[in-house]
């Protein structure tokens, strides 16, 4: 009786070397620590079962991130949301020049250090509100610093799709951050001057926020 050579016994050890990466990504994808740990455990068990499909010498982290991505998408896909977002308002106060340089500086560098955790939490929450595909793209690029090509491989989509998901995902994050900073008074509406005539700014911003409320 012939047997396939049994897979290396150190698979577990090799896989666990990527634990920090998997947990960092899972933490940003899910709502809490327990969900993140569940997602990582599922990923490792699936990787173990599929370990003969892994080609030694290739990028194991990317391979495991692909399993994690598929598990995450299958489990958490909410459906229809991506479409709602794509159909939603296209206005971007940051990109469209409504927001002054000084306001942007205030966003990234709150004068009161006490505000930093608040803003960081806001980014975390905004991230969790993104549709799964957008969130995945942003997390893989920013947390794991994968290249566009690697993200495309992991997510199983063209590089162009990765780029548009990244762009839209980040834009939504920054909009949310900006909205929050406005509410907290870190930036003031009076600072909102840009490349367009000042008289129309207030109107546009009000419209933008009204539309945002309807969607959000």
């Amino acid at each position: 009786m012939t047997r396939r050579p049994s897979p290396p016994d150190d698979f577990e050890q090799l896989a666990l070397e990527h634990l920090s990466s998997l947990l960092a990504v899972a933490t940003r994808l899910t709502r809490n620590g327990a969900e993140a740990e569940d997602l990582v455990q599922d990923t490792l068990v699936k990787a173990f079962r599929a370990r003969e499909q892994f080609t030694p010498g290739t990028n194991m982290r990317a391979w495991m991130l692909r399993i994690l991505t598929n598990t995450f998408i299958n489990r958490y896909r909410r459906g229809g949301l991506e479409r709602a977002v794509l159909d939603g308002p296209d206005a971007d106060p940051l990109a469209d020049g409504w927001v002054s340089s000084s306001s942007m500086a205030a966003l990234r560098d709150p004068e009161t250090t006490a505000l930093r955790p608040v803003l960081e939490r806001e980014i975390g929450e905004a991230l969790r509100e993104l549709p799964e595909e957008f969130r995945l793209a942003v997390v893989l690029a920013d947390v794991e610093e994968l290249s566009y090509k690697e993200i495309a491989d992991v997510m199983g989509c063209p590089v162009g799709t990765v780029m548009s998901r990244l762009h839209r995902g980040r834009r939504m994050l920054k909009s949310r951050l900006y909205e929050h900073a406005l509410e907290m008074g870190i930036v003031g509406p009076e600072k909102v001057v840009g490349h367009e005539p000042a008289s129309t700014n207030t109107v546009d911003l009000a419209q933008y926020r009204a539309r945002r409320v309807k969607v959000g």
Partner: protein, 288 residues
Amino acid sequence: MSPCRRMLPLLDAFGDGELSADQSLQVEQHLVDCGHCTERIRLNEAVRVSMKRAAPVPSAAFKARLCAALAAERQREEHPSERIGRPLSWRTIAPIAVAASVALAFAAARPKPDTMGAVAGAARASLMGHSPSSSSMQSNAASVTATVEQLIDELVTHHQQGSHPNVTEAALLEQLEPEVGVPVRLPSLYGARWEGASVLPVKAMRNQRAASLRYSVGGHRVTLYVYNSANVPLRATLEPRVVYNTPVYVGERRGYSIAAVERRGVGYAVATDLNDSESAELVVASLH
């Protein structure tokens, strides 16, 4: 088109280091003159940095849980026919038992062991739409029922005895996870006071372990069991019911009520001397 408008689509890829040398140069030249786009780049970078921050370090307990899960997978692979020998394999038998429990609704009284076999077999037969073709499958379903009853009996006895919990700090709960094989959190049960936790080897389930969390509410003892629901098919002989849109499996044994729910592979069961609706509400609360 203003220079900024032309630059905007490139700024993300610039920050990601994905532009060609040519395009990077264009962006860099623009940034020299344009404070606004410089600020945009800085904001992108700040968002990226804050996203990377707060990445958790995997805890020792979590690593132990993963090692246990992988070891179990390897063992499952190496001994695929384990179920032929020893009493029963819960992984394979549980679905049959669960199917049977849909038709069975004996919650109030514990049936005598010799009638249970017949009931379970008949229930299974009616689910399958024909008479049992295999007597061994029939007796399997029966012994599942019997063993789950034995398991419930163990839990009720454990709850009744109220043995002293050996973990009394919530922060230490995760140390139970490697033994139990599933996440152990501390749910607040309508403000019930938590008294402590311990690990309970369940004899009826070949010493599969459950975490037991002891609470006190209005002078009543409440024990919440947390376990791997794939290995401990508690609901197999309990009565299904819907509470707050959640399927709950409820029963009464020896004057105690038992209510069980499952979510994503984790089973939660509550044992109390309260009535069965109250136990059901408590166990649903344990999900939140």
